[in-house]
C-alpha cells in the first residue's frame, strides 16, 4: 500500500499500538515556554515525577516577557513569576534554558528551527497551538494542552489517535510582492477555518518545492487556522541546506545518516488522502483579513462582505458581529482605511526574510504621523542577523520601534496591547476578538503589507507602492 509522508512519520514513532487507531507515540523534542512550560514543570515537581528525558527538552521565555528595549525577564511584572519558575525549574531538572539576551532566546517556533533543534523525521510538541510551524522542516509537530504537556514530561510519549489526512497541492509560482503569508490567508479564506479539523495536512506539489524554508514555516504556522493541529512539508535539498551546520543539528557522519533517512520522507505516488485541494500560486493576491476569524480573508483591494450574502445563518451572525467589532460597514473598501498601529512580529512572520521584506518597503520612507509601528524580531538570532545587515537602522530611521525578541503584541499576555477600538495591521496569525488586547481591531497581513500600511497610515496595496 502506498504510504503518505504522515504515515511514515507516525509509524516511526509508535512505541505501542493501543487499539482503535490509538498509539503511544514517542516524542523526540519538547519545547517549553513561560506560559505553559512553567506550570508543567511545577506540576511535575508537585507530583514527585522525574523528567523522563532532559536531553530532549528545551526551554525559553517568549509569551509573558516584555519586548521593550533594555528589558529583563522581569520587566513585565505579571509575567515575572512565570519567567522565574521556568528558569529555576529548568535549572533544577537540567534542561537548557535560553535566557533573555542569550542566543536561542526567542519565540519557540522561531528559535527551534534556526538552532536545528527541529529536524525532519522527528516528533516535536509544545504547549502551543502553532507548533505545527515545525512541520515546514518535515517534523511531525503539534500543539498540546497542559495535561498532555505533563504526560510528555513524565513519559516522553503521548497517546494519540491517528488523524485523517488532507493534502493541499500547489502549482505555479507566487507573483512578485506576494508572500507565504498572503498564500496562507488566501487558502484559509477559500477553504474555511475548520477545513482541516481532525486532519493532518501535507502541503505538497511543485509550488512548495520552490518555496524557501522560512516561507514553508510561515505556511505551516498558519495551518492551525485551518483547524488542523498538524501540517507538513516533505524535506528536500533546501531543508538539508538549511539545517547544515546549525548548532543542535547532527554533524559529520550523523548528518550523512540523517540525510539518508530524510530522503525516505515523502508521499508515494497513488497514496490516498481523505481530502484534497489544489491552488495555483499565480492566482494568489496580496491578502488581508477584514474580520475576527482568519477565514475572513480577502484580496487587499477587496471590500468587507455583506452578511446578507452569507452562506448560512451561523456565518451571517458571525459576519455581522465581526463587522461591528471591527468598525466596518458592508461593502467598505479596506484599502484606504486608516490604521493606528502596525505590528511586525510573531512566529508567523518574525524571521529574517520577513524583516527584509518589510525593510525593502520602508527604506527611505517615513511612518505616517498617526501610526505607532513596532518591529519585534522573532529571536536573538534573527535580531543579531538583522542588525548585522543594518535592517534595524532602516526601521528606526523610518520611525519604527526596534524591540527585543518575544511574542509581544501577538498575544497581549505581556502588557503589550493595541488599545481598545484601535485598528492594527499585524503580521501575526490571529485576529480573534481581543487577541491583541480587549477591543483591539486586528487585520492580518504580510510583513510587506504591514510596512506599507505604516507608511501610508492606512491599509495599502503593496502593488501600488
Amino acid at each position: 500500500m502506498p504510504s503518505t509522508l504522515f504515515d511514515r512519520l507516525w509509524e516511526a514513532h509508535v512505541v505501542a499500538e493501543l487499539g482503535g487507531g490509538w498509539a503511544l507515540l514517542h516524542i523526540d523534542r519538547h519545547l517549553l515556554h513561560d506560559l505553559s512550560g512553567s506550570g508543567g514543570l511545577a506540576t511535575l515537581a508537585e507530583r514527585g515525577l522525574p523528567l523522563n528525558r532532559p536531553d530532549l527538552t528545551f526551554a525559553t521565555a517568549d509569551h509573558a516577557v516584555s519586548s521593550a528595549p533594555g528589558r529583563t525577564g522581569e520587566t513585565y511584572d505579571q509575567g515575572a513569576p512565570l519567567y522565574r519558575v521556568l528558569r529555576e525549574q529548568s535549572q533544577k531538572v537540567g534542561i537548557p534554558f535560553f535566557d533573555i539576551g542569550q542566543r536561542g532566546q526567542g519565540i519557540v517556533h522561531v528559535m527551534a528551527p534556526e538552532l536545528g533543534i527541529t529536524l525532519p523525521g522527528t516528533t516535536l510538541v509544545c504547549g502551543d497551538s502553532h507548533t505545527c510551524t515545525h512541520g515546514g522542516l518535515g517534523a511531525l509537530a503539534f500543539g498540546i494542552g497542559s495535561s498532555e504537556l505533563v504526560h510528555v514530561l513524565a513519559t516522553q510519549t503521548l497517546r494519540q489517535k491517528k488523524p485523517r489526512q488532507m493534502r493541499i497541492v500547489y502549482e505555479g509560482a507566487l507573483k512578485p510582492g506576494v508572500t507565504a503569508k498572503d498564500l496562507a490567508l488566501h487558502v484559509i479564506g477559500t477553504l474555511g477555518a475548520a477545513a482541516g479539523t481532525g486532519h493532518a495536512i501535507e502541503h505538497a506539489g511543485p509550488g512548495i518545492a520552490a518555496l524557501p524554508i522560512e516561507a514553508r514555516l510561515t505556511l505551516c504556522n498558519m495551518s492551525v487556522e485551518l483547524g488542523s493541529k498538524i501540517a507538513l512539508c516533505a524535506p528536500d535539498q533546501a531543508t538539508v541546506d538549511y539545517l547544515r551546520g546549525k548548532p543542535f543539528a547532527p554533524a559529520g557522519a550523523d548528518f550523512d545518516a540523517a540525510i539518508a533517512d530524510w530522503s525516505e520522507l515523502r508521499t508515494d505516488d497513488g497514496a490516498r488522502f481523505d481530502r484534497e485541494a489544489l491552488f495555483n500560486l499565480g492566482c494568489v493576491p496580496p491578502t488581508i483579513t477584514w474580520g475576527t476569524s482568519p477565514e475572513h480573508a480577502i484580496a487587499i483591494d477587496g471590500t468587507a462582505p455583506d452578511p446578507c450574502a452569507a452562506p448560512d445563518a451561523a456565518r451571517r451572525e458571525a459576519w455581522q458581529a465581526a463587522l461591528d467589532y471591527m468598525g466596518l460597514t458592508p461593502g467598505q473598501k479596506l484599502c484606504g482605511t486608516p490604521v493606528d498601529w502596525v505590528f511586525i512580529g510573531s512566529c508567523a512572520n518574525a524571521r529574517l526574510t520577513d524583516l527584509r521584506d518589510a525593510a525593502r518597503v520602508v527604506r527611505g520612507r517615513r511612518v505616517a504621523a498617526a501610526v505607532k509601528a513596532w518591529v519585534v524580531p522573532g529571536s536573538v538570532e534573527v535580531k543579531d542577523a538583522a542588525e548585522a545587515e543594518g535592517l534595524d537602522e532602516i526601521f528606526r530611521a523610518a520611525g519604527f520601534e526596534w524591540r527585543e525578541p518575544g511574542c509581544s503584541m501577538c498575544v497581549a499576555a505581556n502588557g503589550e496591547v493595541v488599545p481598545p477600538g484601535r485598528r492594527a495591521v499585524s503580521t501575526s496569525n490571529r485576529n480573534f476578538v481581543g487577541r491583541q488586547g480587549p477591543g483591539a481591531r486586528t487585520h492580518l497581513a504580510s510583513p510587506a503589507s504591514a510596512a506599507a500600511a505604516a507608511i501610508a497610515g492606512a491599509i495599502a496595496d503593496i502593488r501600488e507602492i
Partner: protein, 201 residues
C-alpha cells in the same frame, strides 16, 4: 478526574460559529487568577447585559449548545477550566477545534459532536430551560421532547471518561517499554539525539 456517565439539566444556546479559546478565556486571566476564579471570566468578550450563561435558567447550566468549530485557536487548557468553573460538564457542537477537543477529555468534560440541525433543534426546545440529557453510557443526547440523538465517540476515550481514569497513570505503567524503545531507537536513528556541541554559550 471526575467520571462522566449521565447528566441532565438546562442547555445554554451559544450558536455562533468559530468561538475561539482566546474568546473563551483571555490569556491574562490565566496568568493572573487561580483556576477556581476563572468561571466569571469565561467568554467575557461576549458577555453583555443578558449573556446567556449569566441569566436564569442558564446560570450554572451543565450543558452548552455551541456553533461549529467551537474552541478553535490557542491550545490553552484554561479554556476548558474556565467553562468548567461556570458549571459546564458537556458541550454539544457540530465540530470542535482539535486541541480543545482533546483537552476536554483530560478534564472530565464531554464534547459531543452532533449535526448542525440537531444542535439547532435542541436549542429551540431548550430555549426556556427545559432539561436536556447527555448519556455517555448509551451515547445519546435526549431532547426535552424525548427525541434521542445518538452520537459517535471514540471507544477508548469513552471508557476513560466513564471510569474517570487519567491517561498519565496508564502510561506510567509502560515506562520500561518506553525505555526499551528509546534504546533501540538510539541505534536506529543515531542522528536524532540533539547535538551535544550545540549548547550555545
Amino acid at each position: 478526574m471526575e467520571p462522566f456517565t449521565i447528566i441532565t439539566g438546562p442547555a445554554a444556546p451559544l450558536l455562533r460559529r468559530d468561538i475561539d479559546t482566546d474568546v473563551i478565556i483571555r490569556i491574562e486571566r490565566l496568568t493572573q487568577l487561580p483556576r477556581r476564579e476563572l468561571g466569571r471570566y469565561a467568554l467575557e468578550a461576549l458577555r453583555g447585559l443578558d449573556f446567556v450563561l449569566d441569566r436564569p435558567p442558564f446560570r450554572g447550566a451543565p450543558i452548552l449548545l455551541a456553533g461549529a468549530n467551537f474552541g478553535c485557536g490557542s491550545s490553552r487548557e484554561g479554556a476548558v477550566w474556565a467553562l468548567q468553573e461556570t458549571g459546564l460538564r458537556s458541550i454539544i457542537a457540530p465540530s470542535f477545534g482539535d486541541i480543545f477537543f482533546a483537552n476536554c477529555f483530560h478534564n472530565g468534560m464531554l464534547p459531543v459532536v452532533l449535526p448542525e440541525a440537531a444542535v439547532a433543534s435542541l436549542a429551540a426546545q431548550a430555549a426556556h430551560g427545559a432539561p436536556v440529557t447527555v448519556d455517555l453510557r448509551q451515547c445519546r443526547v435526549i431532547a426535552p421532547d424525548g427525541a434521542a440523538h445518538p452520537f459517535a465517540i471514540d471507544s477508548l476515550r469513552r471508557e476513560l471518561l466513564l471510569e474517570g481514569v487519567d491517561e498519565l497513570g496508564l502510561t506510567l505503567r509502560r515506562l520500561a517499554e518506553i525505555a526499551a524503545w528509546q534504546q533501540a531507537d538510539a541505534v536506529r536513528r543515531p542522528w536524532c539525539a540533539p547535538n551535544k556541541q550545540g549548547h550555545v554559550r
